[in-house]
Symmetry: C2
Subunit: 624 residues, 2 copies
């Protein structure tokens, strides 16, 4: 992959940074964050402004352009990818490394005295604005909102904002009606004594109304905001999709309803003025609840005295704890997903070993083909990471023709993939060798497996935050001086975003909420050797209550149940590095794969894949 | 122990809360924090205001008194103790439990509209003031500084502030002269572009000047502040202790020195006015560096634009990383301390088993007696926790005549004790049984031991923060549904405070600094059963570099070396619950105790204790 040449674009951007047509006063620096107006992780093509200006299209990164410099902050998953995709106009700022300056510190070090730093107020989250603004002000600079997005002014062929049809989800999928979700939300609002709640995250709007969309690739969401009052519901959404009879019926738009459940549909672009109108009508002690990650523009619309900001909204927290219908849906989705992967791996073994004609892209496409044969398949849940050999070390790699390698019997193959089914979202990584792995490759794989098991089998008290489990995943690697530069797990949505808050498993102590029974996270430790190979073993796991011998302070204990049921390649395991307990875990897991997925393969008449599954789930035997 | 009767005191306090003699306007609530003007954990008797008003004398707790209520916030270490010491005028607020309100939330829930909440601005740290003030303001109340401490106005027999002689420490103890420490500090100040540094923590003043005192029991510190400029040094200290020729010589007060090393000695009470004078002389861009835990009074003396606040000062961070002289001193101190404990445990076995005449207080006194026989012994480093049976479950118990139990062959005995030697500070906990422990007691002890070993033997990359190791200490307990309600470890000073920042091992994700080679922390998991027994196994451990098989990204790895070398009672261990690796750890540890402490016992001619040591360090044998 060759880097994007950005010399001309940066020249144009630097011109508009000084142009009175777009800025009241020239800005000496312009920040291009990753997100859209909803602080989404995955964004529509029209919102890929940071990728447009820099060439780096990973899912996380912030660009800052000054008169003299262009710098990109991203995390360990993307160090290699960003270095490959950006030309030498850009400096890569490796977040998480000791000597990497923060954006604020860097700005202060390069800006001339009394500089203005511009940013689109709809794109920057309010909490980031606050931090950045404070740091800049204390160094004599100013963070200023630039109403017109400066990237858009130079992006001549910027695509249109998508506006695709909606899917309605009935109770068998969601377990709770949107009316009951509104009732629960209003009760949380009453508890906190707030009168209004502004829904800004796209997956929160989708979850609240039991609707799904396809405006953003991989995430079944649609562009919308909502403002919920104690007696009113306003949904801000564009296009004729509200004309769809199924949607009108689902939202009861044409029924005679109690007024507090009557949904007023308004144009997407009117959110700011409507919010300003709400704010104008507030009297003292009346509060409006927003996420502290809502955009600066919307947050500023509510005068400070009336704002009630929290890191996680009540919707975010309710959405994370899956109910019985959602959990059952997730189980079904993972069974179908495992069927597709058994088919794929069986097919790969047949193709790779004798023929050597399968490339990363072909393998990824084949995975999608097998998934799409399954019931209620909607789309992939993220871009498939199909990587062999050195490409596996690029943590969030996506094969493109320039980098596309052929799978072989000499290299490790890493496949991180998942799908959206109408009943659930999947995300699974398996690392395979189609020939004979080296002792070193097996050793590293086994450390990663030990970490995976340590998290998956962990028992911990109710109220424990996920970040307290992160080191369990690393301990075996640490013992040998190894590690990986990403978190261990993320929350997973139910036919929603594959990454969701408020829980996770990471060494970064973000303000995660305690793990609760019903939450669903990934467990995905890895090990990556630049230029050689990548290893990752990922299951999606459900938090479940568990019985323990004792029960200190009656707190109760939790553990994880793997929802992902795909064999872990035993060929890659150095059994002698496993304890008996770990060995039993693998055997029990494989037994469950055999039973559950075996039955489904049988039902679907996929006999060859079933034979592959049986072969791959033979018990490990540990020599004492 | 019977609770303190506080009805009359609370009545008096509520009177002065409304008295125009002390407050400009009546305050509806008054906060009595734990600390002194230096935010010390251990405080002088004159500063024990919270204990005076409530009866609860644990090391951590905040009292808030309103017209109607009196409430005490404290953490899990003190739930039982506080409940015992306070009468029913007081409500105990158990911090860390899910349903316990924060102080702010509680105040908002009980105060009448538009209330004033008073606090002594010298006692409340600036960061707490900020948080509390913001929360109260957003609920329509006001936090107000009350200049005269209201507790002092009703505390008729309040003791005098101590002003004891100083000890000077030469290079053989400190490794670095105070002049070189000032040079290093000024270079850190230059890096951050600050002109002044205000030293407010007592241990930081003591460390910086290589002086020690005894104004506060257990902590070898003295009441003082310092203000360091790029060319000036001001030391704020009272009494005639600056007349001591040794001190004058040490600080070179009478030498002709370069002006930038000339120390100006000023009265302790003049810090605020001097700081205000410094602030008045500042021009734009000139900054004053303070800890964000400095008192609100001192922080407010510097206008906001001139303040540079950090959670940890450069002195705090430098002090935490012990140099070779300090590390060697700590080793010597721990050898002497182990000798004293071998003597004690040998004596206890002889006395408890046949005679049954040893009480908790006698045992604590005997421990002090043996320690005081050692060279350079100064004092204890904290109040000895000598507790048997149910008293052991009171995590920070201190035996007093009312609670004093007799050690017996039927109960677990927990001794958490330590001393200040001129060459180092110790802190060690051992849990013993002088008869035959039950299977359940052994089981719990063994889980705690497994946690202790998991931390002590952990290998982790450079740059790892201590809180990432906390779960290792709990994993074996969690597996059986057990846990303990305190952190796993704290930083330990070098002949300084037994608890010091900026590192620690805790599930609470306070902003700890990464562990570095040379840092010293405690490793002290436990298990406590209310009404029955307490178990804790504590070593002080030194962070050291270690070699690993591989070295990811050349980061290097760290582990711990135990400085504490006191046998862990093998009688309490259920060997079958240990892995072979854990068993080897115990045997290696005991081998080292035998070699190092055995040699010292031999040298000191303590033959009976030596025989005890040999007996107690017999290798464990694990039946496969």
């Amino acid at each position: 992959m060759s880097p994007k040449i950005t010399t001309e674009l940066l020249k144009q951007l630097r011109q508009v940074m000084k142009s009175p047509k777009y800025v009241q006063e020239p800005v000496q620096a312009y920040i291009v964050p990753s997100g859209d107006a909803h602080q989404s992780e995955y964004i529509a093509p029209c919102d890929c402004r940071r990728a447009f200006i820099s060439g780096f299209d990973g899912s996380a990164g912030t660009a800052i352009v000054t008169e003299q410099h262009a710098a990109m902050w991203t995390d360990g998953r993307y160090f290699l990818q960003a270095a490959h995709q950006m030309d030498n106009n850009w400096t890569l700022m490796k977040m998480g490394l000791k000597d990497t300056p923060t954006q604020e510190d860097w700005l202060v070090s390069v800006l001339p005295e009394g500089s203005k730093v511009g940013v689109d107020p709809f794109i920057i989250p309010a909490d980031q604005w606050k931090r950045m603004s404070k740091a800049l002000r204390s160094a004599g600079h100013d963070l200023v909102p630039v109403k017109e997005n400066l990237i858009d002014t130079i992006w001549t062929d910027c695509p249109q904002r998508p506006c695709k049809p909606l899917i309605t989800l009935d109770l068998s999928y969601t377990g709770v009606s949107w009316r009951d979700k509104i009732v629960a939300l209003r009760s949380k609002m009453a508890e906190r004594k707030v009168l209004w709640f502004v829904v800004t995250a796209l997956d929160e709007v989708a979850w609240l109304f039991n609707l799904r969309g396809s405006d953003v690739e991989y995430n079944p969401v649609f562009f919308a905001y909502a403002v919920i009052g104690m007696n009113t519901i306003r949904l801000f959404i564009d296009g004729d999709r509200m004309m769809d009879p199924a949607v009108r019926e689902h939202l009861q738009l044409d029924s005679t309803l109690e007024p507090e459940f009557k949904i007023q549909v308004m144009p997407y672009g009117s959110i700011l003025s409507e919010l300003q109108a709400v704010a104008a009508g507030l009297s003292s002690k009346e509060k409006v609840w927003l996420s502290d990650k809502a955009s600066y523009a919307l947050t500023e619309a509510i005068p400070k005295a009336y704002r009630y900001l929290t890191p996680y909204t009540p919707i975010c927290i309710a959405k994370a704890v899956k109910n019985a219908s959602e959990t059952e849906g997730m189980r079904r989705a993972h069974i179908k997903d495992a069927v597709a992967l058994c088919e794929l791996f069986n097919w790969l073994e047949k193709e790779v070993v004798p023929k050597g004609t399968v490339t990363e892209i072909i393998a990824a496409d084949k995975a999608e083909e097998f998934r799409s044969q399954q019931k209620d398949f909607v789309e992939l849940s993220f871009a498939t990471i199909s990587s062999t050999g050195p490409n596996g070390a690029i943590i969030h790699y996506k094969p493109v023709p320039e980098t596309n390698r052929t799978l072989s019997v000499n290299e490790i193959y890493l496949l991180d993939s998942g799908a959206q089914y109408k009943d659930g979202t999947t995300d699974v990584t398996r690392t395979m060798h189609f020939g004979t792995p080296s002792a070193y490759e097996k050793e590293c794989f086994t450390y990663v497996l030990k970490g995976h098991i340590a998290v998956s089998a962990a028992i911990f008290p109710n109220g424990t935050k996920g970040h307290l489990l992160d080191s369990f995943a690393r301990s075996a690697l640490w013992d040998c001086g190894l590690d990986y530069l990403h978190g261990t797990g993320h929350g997973v949505g139910s036919f929603l975003n594959v990454h969701e808050g408020p829980c996770g498993i990471s060494y970064k102590t973000f303000a995660d909420e305690p793990l609760e029974a019903g939450m669903i996270v990934s467990d995905e430790p890895g090990y990556y050797e630049d230029g050689s190979f990548g290893i990752r073993i990922e299951n999606v796991v459900l938090v479940i209550p568990t019985e323990t011998k004792y029960n200190f302070k009656n707190r109760g204990s939790l553990t994880f149940e793997p929802l992902t049921l795909v064999p872990i390649q035993t060929k890659m395991i150095d059994v002698n590095l496993l304890t008996q307990k770990e060995c039993n875990w693998v055997n029990d897991y494989h037994q469950k794969c055999r039973e559950v997925i075996g039955a489904e393969l049988e039902r679907q008449g996929r006999h060859e894949a079933l034979r592959w599954l049986i072969r791959e789930t033979e018990p490990l035997i540990r020599v004492q």
